[in-house]
Symmetry: C2
Subunit: 610 residues, 2 copies
């Protein structure tokens, strides 16, 4: 375990049932830190180019970071890395909760799963031990039932469990991995687990983790709490509303797109404001297993009407965007149910909601008809349709066979100009921040390593809020590359340590370095840590380059490049993407024509071996 | 704890938050044994006549018996006793699983809940200690979520939890109490909990229970296992199919009523046969916390179609009868979902299924129309309607306001002769064994203490199977009173000890007495134990007499008295009820005119004090 300069890896081959324990020592520890950056390196090294993401050749790298499971605040996350069946490119996807800390406390920094099992199995990890267990009885179950059944079998409520639902079993390309009521949602890691007949990972983590330098570690933690408590957004808004906190302000700025990104606002937006939500639906504040003093998890409950009796953890901001604003649905109970169903079936809420919103626009424009929608009138605002549509997608039945393709493939099949409003980049549906009103967000979507994601390359949430506070400069392209590059590299640090990105947004670089050094005995400087982050960004980029990525892949849906929002404060805006990308590539040291990292940049980062 | 001649009672008053510990010693222990019979006595003594079952004056008596939680096989049950909001009469309702053993192992033989809490609460019982905990965040949740949340809060997967869902909160008169995926289903104990703002009972039971005479106790247990293993039905059929095991044989005998008891068979019956069910839906055999060697719990999973992803424990025979045969639905996935929804919302499956079947018949006969059914075409066989109908009932929304009344009240409101086919006795919908084909069952329904129940007074399942094996004598009224009286008194023993009635059907009286005496130090004879059972039967009868019961209440729906099944082997049969009742009252020592136990009988049983 990496409380000194050593990482412990467990490698499980599901084809031949072999379990190996390995360790990584020496320079690699300082070069790649752990978590996401280490995983990016492993992924690059171990996966041949051009493999089918759903073939036995693909692997899963499931990591905790050097601070996960320690007493450092808000470090409850784990990272899954694999080749994405949704984009065919690099994928890292993270989730908070209890699984990450349990993994680390079981003495495992990274679990690597290879091959494919003949029959359904789950892995049970205890201290220094992994058992491959029969899971035929769990195959077909929702993620909630799967977790409950495993806990019943183990007679242990504290087991950390990450699992897939029916969508992952059916290899829906945006199938999520679910732990508790949280998701490692994006990019289809659930489908990769499904392709391996791997239903779940269960971890009993009983060890305590000791820092190398206890006194310095305690000081760093105190510093972090001071940072968090003095950060208004985290200490106040997040405590009450979690990630949904910015909805009202983002509405005022026209950042939240409605009706599949046709509109920049809605007369009904207020129904989705976080204040109403907290009053009427939130029943309990919950948190990850790591220490946290703002508890962003919001357990919600629908109390009446057709969706009554459903609970979910959230819905978080992105889910309110995807099922609410994008589908023009303002019945919060319906959104809670959609969120809960996506968790139960193991589906990414953003891709699911956007796929439905895209289909709604296609239906309203007459591009598709009731002949393929199982007779459903697929109109914006149809809250009663969410349940059958999500169910059909998870099971790939009826119209769900279309929806489960996602927006890119649907638009290729539907044709008739629908690609212009398939709101995806590289096959991944984009997050809920309109770059026409906050230009730095365009780079996050266009150049992010895992496709149109709002947070794998910086933070669309933080950057939108920041841009809104700076008046009209939010419409300018100037300086946008710099902030995105810096936030992108910093994100690498967060996801490697692993920090909750909300908390880490408040924590200073100095406290970050102090905690990492004190816990691990390493000797990072702030600059060195950022360079480690940049190393990760380039590793991920190179993975995608090897898969064929060039500059022309770094783009946005036509709607954002050529069309104005129909209403709201940004009605005169489009995204000037090429200018932004020129600046960004230049800063990154990537070739302006191809988008490929220059050899000098790679060598500067110690990545000459690529 | 009653491993000697003492019972420990905890009394919780939710109005003033007072918790008292009491004990019962001496003669009462031998007179009333524990569990159901003790509860019947307490209920009679502590509840004034004519109280409103949903008022603060009603109480809940929740008991384990002297063998519950011990190593005696199949003694995992607990009993809830109260005044029923469905019948306005005596109610006992039992469930297996982990709650009963946990209660006993927490050192509690009986928990008495009185009064009403202002805000929602749950009770947490540890060893010799009860805490009244805030439960506002759980109010509105399904029973599955409620149990999961409490286990998360307590960080203990082994806590025994019994709780209510939205139906109990809304005081639906057939709201169940649910523990795990099992129900203390009949008669509305869930509504009584709801009326008290009591969401759940959670018990951490850590103690081990020691017999007074260990050697004799071990001998008795060995004897019991020999009995069980040599009993073909239990050792073979139940092991594979649980309570659903007799479905094929009962179909052949025309015992299973279809389409709200209009038909005695169906050309589609085979779709519901247990062999198909086990092949396609059962994923795991499960059992109570007590030792059991046949594991009648069958975890089922719907794998495809609109109900896919739903699991339930069962459905047991009665649920297949109520949602399957009664509603003419042969899609097993839909029945699994109906079962799971009833568990989730806390509804009795028999009353729910029969209420829907009754409404379907009313709709098909034109007695009700789409104006009150929320536009639904309420026809037999409409499997897609089960979900919205059950949801509406639990939440008392739309047509659910009608369904939640149950068949008796609906028929009073609908009129037009519908009372003749409201398949209930004293307000409780009857079980799935047609007394026209097994006459002893008529007495079980007509004279049972809790209304038209199939098992509170004997066992309709066991008696139907027995009658089927005896040829045409099943149509005779002769000897039917005797078997019902004997089985009724024996049931008192099972429910007091507490035994699983399936296992106890195989266990001899000698082994029963031996185990009870060895564990408690009491000195029962077989006759003495049956007299204790008869004492219980008369106590319950007297409770109902005090509420106004007379002979004319001991009746059956007109359909059974005057109408033949439309098809099947029993097409010439009706029930000759008055002859049966004359015999039964005579055997019981009850007045032929009034149905009231005679003074001599009560004095013979030591119940002169009534």
């Amino acid at each position: 375990m990496s409380n000194s300069k050593e990482w412990i890896l467990f490698r499980v081959n599901l084809s031949n049932k072999e379990v190996l324990k390995e360790s990584i020592l020496g320079e690699d520890v300082e070069m790649y830190l752990g978590g996401r950056v280490l995983g990016a390196k492993m992924l690059y090294k171990e996966l041949p180019a051009a493999i089918d993401p759903l073939s036995p050749e693909n692997k899963l790298f499931i990591s905790a970071g050097p601070l996960t499971g320690t007493t450092t605040p808000s470090t409850g996350r784990y990272v899954i890395q694999t080749k994405s069946p949704q984009t065919g490119l690099y994928l890292s996807t993270l989730s908070g909760g209890h699984f990450g800390p349990a993994l680390r406390r079981a003495g495992c920094d990274m679990l690597i799963v290879e091959g494919v099992s003949e029959a359904p199995v789950y892995l049970l990890m205890g201290k220094d031990d992994i058992e491959i267990r029969e899971a035929s009885h769990l195959w077909g179950m929702t993620t909630g039932d799967t977790q409950a059944l495993i806990k019943e079998e183990l007679k242990d409520a504290e087991t950390g469990i990450a699992c897939i639902g029916p969508a992952g079993e059916r290899k829906v390309p945006f199938a999520a991995v679910i732990n508790e009521r949280r998701a490692a949602g994006r990019g289809g890691a659930g489908a990769v687990m499904g392709s391996k007949n791997l239903k779940a990972l269960a971890v009993k983590g009983g060890q305590t983790l000791e820092p190398v330098h206890p006194k310095a570690f305690q000081d760093a933690i105190r510093h972090m709490y001071r940072d968090i408590n003095s950060h208004a957004v985290i200490a106040e808004s997040f405590r009450l509303y979690g990630s949904h906190s910015a909805f009202s302000a983002l509405t005022a700025g026209g950042i939240i797109p409605w009706r599949n990104w046709q509109d920049g606002t809605s007369p009904n937006a207020e129904a989705l404001f976080p204040e109403n939500w907290r009053d009427q639906f939130v029943v309990k504040d919950i948190r990850c297993a790591s220490p946290c003093n703002f508890n962003c998890g919001k357990l919600t409950l629908a109390r009446k009407g057709p969706h009554a009796g459903v609970i979910s953890d959230g819905p978080d901001y992105e889910t309110v965007y995807s099922f609410g604003a994008s589908c023009d649905i303002t019945d919060f109970s319906a959104i809670i149910e959609a969120d809960a169903l996506c968790d139960a079936y193991g589906l990414d809420t953003i891709s699911m909601g956007l796929s439905i919103a895209f289909a709604m626009e296609c239906f309203e424009r007459g591009i598709i008809g009731k002949d393929i929608t199982d007779g459903m009138e697929l109109r914006f605002g149809s809250s009663r349709l969410l349940r059958p549509l999500i169910h059909a997608t998870a099971y790939r039945e009826g119209f769900g066979q279309w929806l489960s393709m996602g927006t890119r493939k649907m638009s290729e099949q539907f044709g008739r100009g629908s690609a212009a409003f398939a709101m995806q980049v590289k096959g991944m549906e984009i997050g809920g921040y309109d770059p026409r009103g906050a230009k730095s967000v365009a780079l996050i979507y266009a150049c992010g390593p895992r496709g149109g994601c709002h947070k794998s390359n910086g933070s669309a949430n933080a950057q939108s809020r920041m841009e809104l506070q700076s008046g009209d400069t939010r419409y300018s392209t100037e300086g946008k590359a710099l902030v995105t590059k810096k936030q992108g590299d910093r994100r690498m640090i967060s996801d490697s340590a692993t920090f909750c990105i909300f908390a880490h947004g408040a924590i200073s670089d100095e406290a970050t370095v102090a905690a990492l050094n004190a816990f691990t005995g390493l000797d990072y400087s702030v600059e060195g840590l950022y360079q480690m982050g940049e190393r990760g960004s380039n590793l991920e980029r190179m993975f995608n380059v090897r898969e064929g990525l060039t500059r022309k892949w770094d783009t946005l849906p036509d709607r954002l490049l050529r069309q104005n929002p129909a209403n709201g404060p940004n009605i005169h805006q489009v995204v000037e993407l090429e200018t932004l990308i020129d600046d960004y590539y230049t800063l990154c040291g990537w070739d302006l024509e191809t988008g490929i990292p220059r050899r000098e940049k790679l060598e500067e980062l110690g990545l000459g071996w690529l």
